[in-house]
């Protein structure tokens, strides 16, 4: 498994050991890309900062909280409304953001008084909200404001409020991953154990590393309802501040994104003896196994089996419809962190595509180890890729699709590779059985787009076909498909609605109305 040297990066030799090509009989011990090292300056990396890793990725999905950044306005503005973590009670966390608006005089004379007034004003503006998080930024870290002391002062004055302080300035670490770590540890140090929850089930979990992107968490809560499992807290998508203070009372930590949230699970194990179970809400088989594992832990496997059976019967024919039409589709799986290994294998097994490359912006070597192990031979794995390397890889690999973020997706568009947003999703949720069909549908719609099929035609040089006024996706996807498969009556394309979250919320509200068990009221 040799290191892969990019032409464009020959002049920066420290990049050499950040990319490998998986070969026959590979052994991960012979070559594993370096990870989580300082970025090469000027390389036009895609990485963000530790502030955004803490505030933007993990802190802000909490829904009943004023999220206040202590610094100049830019950090707040720039990270606001760039993610799709919804909540089930009005999206306060998406709609409102708070900045202490530090100016030059504060940099010189200190901004603690400013911060205190900000906190008081924020609570006054939203009297129904009693919880607040403060995020340090580069500027206020460097001037040394004592944010904890300010927070304590306010809590002493206003006994009904609670404030969490996260000291994770932008420069704290090679990437956003540094911020994930800092907020995990800060939360368990400051807040876990300060609220005693009401226990409503014999089976109690924390659902960790789940951010409710386009409703993922709510999809999973629906399953936990049906299994009779109480979800004490979600860290942090659609999560409540006070629920997260009670994490110490769970019987099990169920962990999705290990990259961003394994730290708190590990601490909960050490400090409170709560075991950690890594699960995966993406894909029929991994999700089924995950529900089974949780069921097994509590001795309620039957409830998991029932869900798997029902959901599989409902959605498998639709997943299969897409898999048959996506075989041989070459995709680059270029997410931020953990999806590179969550998806690397199952997207091939269940959606039929070939993963020709994986990359990670802020993953560590452990993520690469898992990701590469789940790829096929020939796959190119890149750590902390930069703009030119990405383009060179696209030219070399000629994928039909890349799964990445918004801005890199625009780069791919220009070299005629469509993209799907795997951070905020195109038309998610993608978790759950139906969600996985939605991903397959979105991949199909991108790859077999009739408009995309026009993009290679050079009307100044090529003979222009004049025999058609339109082409449908089916005409493209079924062109080389065995007619017996193309006409299988037992398969069908996706039959769900544009927005499935209202159905899930209605279902859960009905359970509450009927006095049935719900995992998290």
């Amino acid at each position: 498994m040799p290191y892969h040297e990019f032409e464009c990066s020959k002049c920066i030799p420290e990049r050499l050991r950040h990319a490998v090509r998986k070969t026959e009989g590979e052994d991960l011990t012979s070559a594993l890309p370096l990870g989580y090292l300082n970025t090469v300056p000027g390389s036009i990396s895609e990485r963000g900062c530790a502030y955004c890793g803490a505030k933007h990725v993990i802190g802000t999905p909490m829904k009943d909280v004023i999220h206040l950044s202590h610094g100049p306005v830019g950090c707040t503005y720039d990270t606001w409304q760039t993610k799709r973590y919804i909540s089930d009670d009005g999206n306060f966390q998406l709609k409102y953001t708070f900045a202490s608006d530090v100016k030059e005089a504060h940099i010189i004379f200190g901004a603690e008084g400013l911060l205190k007034q900000n906190i008081l004003d924020a609570f006054a503006a939203f009297p129904h909200i009693k919880r607040l998080t403060v995020y340090q930024t580069c500027g206020t870290a460097l001037i040394g404001d004592d944010i904890e002391a300010v927070a304590q002062e306010v809590m002493d004055e206003l006994p009904d409020v609670d404030i969490f302080v996260c000291n994770s300035p932008g420069f704290a670490g090679p990437s956003q991953s540094g911020g994930h770590h800092k907020i995990n540890i800060a939360w368990i140090n400051q807040k876990v154990g300060t609220v005693e929850p009401e226990i409503t089930s014999d089976h109690v979990i924390n659902y960790v590393g789940e951010y409710n992107i386009q409703g993922d968490q709510e999809v999973m809560l629906d399953f936990f309802d049906r299994m009779g499992i109480q979800v004490l807290s979600t860290f942090t998508g659609n999560g409540r501040y006070d629920d997260l203070r009670a994490m110490h009372r769970a019987h099990l930590n169920v962990l999705e994104c290990a990259r961003s949230a394994e730290y708190i699970c590990n601490e909960l194990r050490v400090r409170y003896g709560i075991p950690r179970l890594d699960i995966d809400g993406f894909g029929f088989e991994p999700l089924g196994s995950s529900l089974r594992k949780i069921g097994m832990f509590f001795g309620i496997e039957d409830s998991a089996e029932k869900i798997i059976e029902e959901e599989t019967a409902r959605w498998k024919p639709e997943l299969e419809w897409y898999r048959e039409r996506l075989r041989g589709t070459r995709v680059c799986l270029w997410p931020g962190g953990s999806k590179l290994w969550h998806w690397a294998n199952v997207i091939q097994e269940e959606i039929g595509v070939d993963v020709v490359s994986v990359y990670t912006k802020f993953g560590h070597q452990g993520d690469m180890e898992k990701g590469i192990a789940r790829c096929g031979n020939g796959a190119l794995a890149i750590d902390d890729p930069n703009e030119l390397e990405g383009l060179e890889a696209l030219e070399m690999l000629r994928p039909h699709l890349i799964l990445t973020g918004k801005r890199p997706g625009e780069v791919a568009k220009k070299v005629r590779v469509p993209y799907l947003n795997v951070h905020g999703y195109h038309n998610g949720p993608y978790k759950g059985f139906e969600g996985w069909v939605r991903l397959a549908r979105d991949i199909y719609n991108a790859v077999h787009s009739p408009i995309h099929s026009l993009s290679a035609l050079d009307i100044s040089k090529d003979e222009i076909p004049t025999d058609r006024g339109f082409v449908t996706r089916r005409m493209l996807s079924d062109r080389d498909l065995d007619p017996q498969i193309a006409n299988r009556a037992d398969l069908r394309p996706y039959s769900g609605r544009f927005d499935i979250i209202p159905e899930i919320r209605a279902r859960r509200a009905e359970r509450v109305a009927n006095g049935e068990f719900v995992s998290a009221p």
Binding site: G42, G74, C75, T76, Y77, Q81, A99, K103
Partner: protein, 461 residues
């Protein structure tokens, strides 16, 4: 109720209208051909600004970071700038211009970016890149001063100061556009072309709207060249649009080269576009041709179709970059609308010296202008103070105010990411006036139909 102006009274910001200086400097940087800026600070200062550009334009733009990490924050990080410049130059052989843009962190630790530019000019460039033309331009953009608007102003000045020279008069006009959309640049260039005025445009951003090409050659980048920038000192005149975005550069050109300068015009609406053309005529001696009389007439015709029937007395709130808001307010007044609330940019203390604002304070009956504003100033007036509005005009960051209060909203300014293709449409010039009037009307029409509010009026319109 007389018109008033006052700053936001709370110290903090709830839902900001603008971002910080480095974003403005980066917006200037992407306007120049063969230019990639290096932002000296944490990676988020670049990553998120690139993201917001890509949200607005649905394109990606190249900007680099010095990737300040913890050790640099403690011990100084100028070595990161040196390495960033070298890495960038090695890997991007076409790059000729590299703005080095500071941020709050690197200003606080006191990294001397002017010093490192000198050092690189004396050491790295002659040693490793002899014969290659490379311009390193230090731009101080601490985030705790001003806003993205002042950051743009400062960066344009620093770039102009670096390049502008004098050889021989070239008969051209310098057009400093300010922070506008590609659609505005197209319209402004069209107006000048009709007058047969050759212009050097800062910045040529039409290529931001780059094509998806069969040979994969499309790239979104500005087209203003080093040669364009050098020639600024040879112009017959400078028209600096948008007082708060280009005045520093215009003043420099005026003082250094004695170039006749008209500053602070924002050609939004018919009247302001007329003023713009008169200024250009004064500076260049070129006549305003009949073709523009026709274009102006077409715009007036379109506006007449909607103004006194549908727009008159409609109550509007406006927020965004100060010049945009002021220009829109003036145009709204011409269309008989009532701009009752104006939320202006940053903590610049001199807004009440602006003659346009002074004129509105003198002549408009009902208008509240809040400076250094945030979006909470808008929202709480609607939800808590019963401010009645028929329309909101502003950028996408305020979308939830409109959605939750069910007030129709026309997206204008930067960023607009929740509507498709708005960067392609001008708000400036006669074409911009037409687009604005018709878009306002269409926005109100959709609202009338959605709410069942005299929707039948449109049966016979």
């Amino acid at each position: 109720m007389p018109a008033t102006i006052h700053p936001r009274e709370r110290p903090g910001i709830i839902n900001p209208i603008f971002t910080c200086q480095p974003a403005g400097a980066q917006f200037a940087s992407i306007g120049i051909k063969d230019c990639i800026g290096i932002v000296h600070g944490g990676q988020g200062c670049v990553m998120f600004v690139r993201l917001i550009f890509s949200q607005h334009f649905k394109e990606s733009f190249e900007l680099a970071s010095s990737s300040l990490h913890e050790d640099g924050a403690v011990f100084g990080a100028l070595d990161r700038v040196e390495e960033a410049v070298d890495v960038l130059l090695m890997r991007y052989p076409k790059v000729r211009v590299v703005p080095i843009i500071s941020t709050c962190s690197t200003e606080v630790i006191g990294d001397d970016i002017d010093g490192v530019v000198r050092k690189l000019n004396e050491e790295l460039l002659p040693r490793k890149y002899p014969g290659r033309e490379v311009h390193l331009v230090a731009v101080h953009a601490p985030s705790f001063v001003g806003s993205m608007v002042s950051g743009y102003n400062v960066a344009v000045r620093d770039l102009v100061q670096h390049f502008a020279g004098r050889t021989e008069p070239n008969g051209r006009l310098n057009l400093l556009t300010g922070w506008v959309n590609p659609g505005d640049v197209t319209e402004l260039k069209h107006l000048l072309a009709e007058m047969e005025v050759d212009a050097t445009v800062l910045f040529e951003t039409e290529e931001f709207d780059s094509p998806l090409m069969p040979d994969k050659s499309g790239v979104s980048h500005g087209e203003t060249t080093v040669e364009d920038l050098r020639s600024l000192g040879d112009a017959v005149g400078t028209v600096a649009l948008n007082r708060y975005e280009t005045t520093l550069a215009a003043e420099y050109l005026e003082q250094e080269f004695g170039i006749p300068t008209v500053s602070g015009v924002t050609p939004i609406g018919i009247r302001n576009t007329d003023t713009f053309l008169q200024r250009v005529k004064n500076l260049t001696g070129k006549e305003i041709p009949r073709s523009l009389v026709i274009e102006r007439g077409r715009a007036l015709d379109a506006i007449t179709d909607v103004a006194h029937m549908f727009l008159a007395d409609k109550r509007v709130a406006l927020y965004g970059n100060p010049d945009l808001v002021i220009g829109l307010a003036e145009f709204c007044l011409d269309m008989e609308m009532k701009p009752v609330l104006l939320l202006l940019g940053d903590d610049n203390p001199n807004y009440d010296d602006d003659p346009r604002i002074r004129a509105m304070l003198e002549h408009v009956d009902e208008m509240e202008i809040v400076t250094n504003a945030d979006l909470w100033e808008l929202e709480r007036r609607i939800t808590q103070e019963n401010l009645e509005l028929d329309l909101i005009m502003g950028h996408s960051k305020g979308r939830f105010v409109a959605i939750d209060s069910q007030i129709p909203m026309l997206r204008v300014g930067f960023p607009v990411y929740d509507r498709a293709g708005y960067f392609r449409h001008p708000v400036m010039g006669y074409a911009g006036a037409t687009w604005l009037a018709e878009s306002i009307a269409n926005t109100l029409f959709a609202d009338m139909e959605y709410k069942g509010m005299k929707e039948w009026v449109l049966n016979v319109w």
